[in-house]
Assembly symmetry: C2
């Protein structure tokens, strides 16, 4: 049975996907969340995601795709590879797992279909584009077509953050009335520290720049 008013959110407990979770709750009457684990260094990330989903009263599903980490070693899944402090100028950051979003969204679609859900929500953005090709709008649109052909269904992929930089994501969370929740509970930091994080990894820098910029505008 198709649930026209239901959505499945790809959810990690970070700033972006938490904002998407509450965006989905505003736009759909039934929302579920799926979290992917693939050998991340920080299992705290999963517990944070589970807690936030519970607070949002959203069913939480955990899928173990650790196979992905075995296929393409990288610094997020392999402790022996040192995290880059900054993105190398001439290549992807070494946190990049090629094809990661494609694997996540394909599994999410299989799971959603089994539940009669055909709206999928993901927090990818090309505004503060980190060099990940699978965050681009063109990729998402192509994937949407491929998923529909693969399963002969009519999935709709939603990317509410696609054109929002981090400042605009903070603004959206404020509009959705979850600014404090996102600021105090989410985990974005590559070094596994919730809320404002370590302050020095690329994810913390990006998050803080956006936050400072949004607060400056808001307090004017």
């Amino acid at each position: 049975m198709i649930q026209q008013d239901a959505a499945l959110v790809c959810f990690s407990g970070g700033q972006d996907s938490t904002t998407c979770l509450f965006w989905a709750k505003k736009h759909f009457s039934r929302v579920e969340a799926v979290c992917f684990t693939y050998g991340q260094k920080h299992s705290l990330e999963i517990e944070i995601a589970r807690t936030i989903a519970g607070q949002a009263n959203v069913p939480f599903h955990l899928l173990d795709v650790s196979l992905l980490g075995q296929l393409a070693p990288n610094s997020l899944t392999d402790p022996s590879i040192r995290m880059d402090e900054d993105k190398p100028a001439d290549s992807y950051p070494n946190t990049f797992v090629p094809g990661r979003n494609m694997v996540f969204l394909t599994f999410a679609a299989v799971m959603a279909r089994n539940k009669g859900i055909f709206h999928l929500v993901t927090g990818v953005s090309e505004a503060d584009y980190s060099g990940y090709p699978d965050c681009r709008d063109t990729f998402i649109r192509s994937l949407n077509v491929t998923l529909n052909l693969a399963m002969d269904e009519q999935f709709v992929l939603h990317t509410p953050l696609m054109n929002r930089d981090k400042k605009a994501v903070w603004q959206l969370s404020d509009e959705l009335e979850v600014f404090d929740l996102v600021r105090n509970q989410t985990l974005t930091c590559y070094n596994g520290i919730p809320a404002d994080g370590c302050g020095s990894c690329p994810a913390c820098k990006l998050r803080k720049e956006g936050l400072d910029s949004y607060l400056e505008t808001k307090n004017k």
Copy 2:
């Protein structure tokens, strides 16, 4: 380093993918095989695949995507669901795992890229089309574009059987000089019996019809 003359074959040890394995060996100087396990009833299938790959002198990789079976229950992975003797007229056969080929090919692409391989070979066919949307040429072409966008690479998906019915697949195996190997060693039967199989499941019927038809033409 891109290996222009290398291919990764999605390989199950069945008639179709075994024919594709030897097709790839004819067209590429370096060939590897990847076999997906997802809770199939018959682990014999995997051992047969491993044996044939060994005989072909092709590196054999096994990927456990049993997660897929958990997401969408069906008769291939769940012994409590009875195998249909024949395909229901108005729906998919109940061996259908929605999105299966998309998951397999996406993982294969991630693995291939990590090896510097960008040619992927799969034995899907729309000639004796069983109602699986992810065997259609349109799906494969869309997937090819999506994979390239996802990873910013230039994968090429090869489907040597796309327009061959089972008779033509037998003919191809004969041209590739592996007719006897395919006939005597592969496992296609849903009930897990190698070579000519149980004779009564849909896969055995299809295989036998093609074989009889090819032998009739050949012996004229």
